[in-house]
Amino acid sequence: MKILIRGGRLVDPAQGLDAPGELCIAAGRVVGCGRVPDGFVANRVIEAGGRVVAPGLVDLSARLREPGFEYLATLESEMAAAVAGGVTSLACPPDTDPALDEPGLVEMLKYRAQGLNQCRVYPVGALTTALAGQRLTEMAELRDAGCVAFSQAGSPIADTQVLARALSYAATFDFCVWLQPQDAYLGHGGFAHDGEVATRLGLPAIPVTTETVAIATIVLLMRDTGARVHLCRVSSAAGLEMIRAARAEGLPLSCDVGVHHLHLSDVDIGWFDSNCHLSPPLRAVRDRDALRAGAASGLVDAVCSDHSPVDEDNKQVPFAESEAGATALELLLPLTLKWGREMGLGLGETLARVTTHPARILGVQAGSLAEGVAADVCIFDPAQEWLLAPDSLVSQGKNTPFVGYPLQGRVTQTLVGGNLVFDRQAAER
């Protein structure tokens, strides 16, 4: 199958490319970027006039809820949501039920995902058995089964001796450990940022020290063990400053933010909007502004959806009883574009945060349109405005703080390995 994507604006941050041109695909790979190779005859032509042709998005955290939480979402529903959002590679955290702590589970997940033939799924293995923070998992076996990194998802390791040994063991194999910086105790029982809003609403609070104490511990253990660490979902200005300092001394530390945290703050909780119940919590406006600036300067490597579909029953309860999380795979592109526009970044720089940079963290060859790489492509209309209604989402999760918001930028086609896996016109017909 040879595909010609014609008349679009090619934007590839990996090549520093932003120019009109053709993209040619053959046998699942890019064979011409900005040029049509001699003798190339397409079987299929995709007209991309007025649209952007970019690498498929790489999302560092999307919960597919399988195995164990199929009532919330399934691989079918969420992988369809991914490609509808232009996401062609995603990492799924290990907080399934059972947790991704055995090679068999990982193989099963990979096999199921491959069978669906949609986006690429990269499982993140559990760092400790059942994420209980006590026994190490068989990391090398898990890597052989397909895990790209190891994490505790939202369950911090309380025992610092276990954490130190987990980092040390991972460093043996040069595995990257992904940690959401959360002290196991400081935020205990809390649901919202410890600030004016939680004070006013009487919501049990999560102080910033929950994050900073954890980062301090991780940085000290990194120095001691030589481990590579990626910090997931940084939420505070103070945390970001510590990361800046650790990187300045040369530690192999990267980090990401959830896309909600670039736009929202605790103020958006309003009168107890449980759609704004996220983990880590939405923090103060000054924290949000620091994350926005950090993502622009490159201190924050990547922006992820932190997609966590939650059903209505788990949101239609008082704030503290509601489950944290929001559906976001289909919001990642428009919300990242919105941030980029507001920060005055070029399209290539903006897209780098959701393509090239996360691909580097994942350690996979994705996030580029360079000739020779697999043709994972996202075609979108950067100007199209659409109103986010729950039934406009493919994901089984309909809960998002952005319900009713007008968004700009919408995916029209998605290709994975040269296969057209999403075509909005066909999907809506």
Binding site: G195, E196, T199, L201, L203, W271, F272, D273, F319, A320
Partner: protein
């Protein structure tokens, strides 16, 4: 979502959920209506203002005193009152909060009086019920207890006449207190020039100054020259979470005793939302002393709750 969920488009009270953002005109309307009940001797005869209406006391958290005063208030207005102690019934069978509310709405409830252990429960119910059904928050988590705060305002106005030149101190566990939050919003809305909160750092929320109050750790300094002292109840479980070492030490430093009360103005009044822990936050000599208005608060509470329900029914 950020609009004032208590008011209708005309700015009339539809639900009483919190004193946060409650317009001063409505607070005064409630206090004036309560006074008319008080002065007309409405404690001895029934008024027909809620005749034919059903008031459901929906208590997801045990309470005797608040529920009883709401019941008395509703009955004096001729309402039919149904008491539901939900903690021991449907919730334990797995029914969700909103299912419970839907079921009771289908029984033609006109008003829900709701108490719940989680902050925001009353707001959620108010967003959910059909138009015309009113929700009165009788305490949600640590968030709000507006009728308590309003009866406290009534008490202060009764004994002090006006709000505009008072110093008020709130003493104790502010972090966990819905009463304190509602009092603070009511006092600042009524333009009390100086509201102080007094307590150890572990019981004072981090950003409480943003609510317009001054924080004192030293109770003696905080009580100096105040006109009103409001004591908060200290829950026993505060010793478990490493918030306080002991009741004895708490009483020594933050209990209201006669020797601390003399630092306030000589005509200062002492209030407490009840139930009191004598010897923990308040000395019996003060609780039963000449400056205590604690029992008056209870009496006034019925008039204020009558006023709230009468105004809501009138705004139907």
């Amino acid at each position: 979502m950020n609009a004032n969920p208590q008011l209708d488009r005309q700015g009339r009270l539809q639900h009483l959920l919190t004193t946060d953002g409650l317009p001063p005109g409505i607070i005064h309307q409630i206090l004036d209506t309560a006074r008319s009940f008080h002065e007309s001797g409405a404690d001895s005869r029934k008024l027909p203002l809620l005749a034919g209406k059903s008031v459901f006391n929906l208590f997801f958290e045990p309470s005797t005193r608040t529920r009883t005063t709401f019941e008395i208030a509703a009955k004096r207005l001729s309402a039919d009152v149904i008491n539901l102690n939900v903690a021991s019934s449907s919730q334990s069978k797995g029914e969700t909060l909103l299912d419970t509310v839907d079921n009771l709405s289908a029984m033609h409830a006109d008003m829900f009086v709701v108490r719940h252990a989680e902050s925001g429960a009353a707001h959620m119910i108010a967003r959910h019920v059909a138009p015309g059904i009113h929700v009165v928050n009788a305490g949600d988590g640590r968030h709000a207890h507006p009728t308590q705060a309003l009866l406290d305002m009534y008490t202060i106005r009764h004994f002090k006449g006006a709000f505009e030149n008072l110093r008020v101190a709130i003493v104790g566990d502010v972090t966990h207190s819905r009463v304190a939050r509602s009092q603070i919003h009511a006092l600042t809305t009524l333009k009390v020039p100086e509201v102080r909160v007094i307590g150890p750092n572990t019981l004072i929320p981090r950003d409480v100054a943003s609510l317009g109050v001054h924080v004192y750790n030293d109770m003696r300094a905080g009580l100096r020259d105040v006109d009103v002292v409001i004591m908060l109840r200290l829950q026993n479980e505060r010793m478990n979470g490493a918030l306080l070492p002991s009741r004895e030490e708490y009483f020594k430093y933050y209990g209201l005793t006669p020797d601390k009360l003399v630092l306030a103005r000589p005509d200062a009044i002492v209030m407490h939302p009840g139930p009191m822990n004598r010897g923990v936050e308040i000395d019996s000599a003060v609780a039963d002393g000449a400056q205590s208005v604690i029992l008056a608060q209870v009496t006034f509470g019925i008039f204020v709750r009558m006023a709230v329900m009468a105004i809501l029914a009138e705004n139907s």
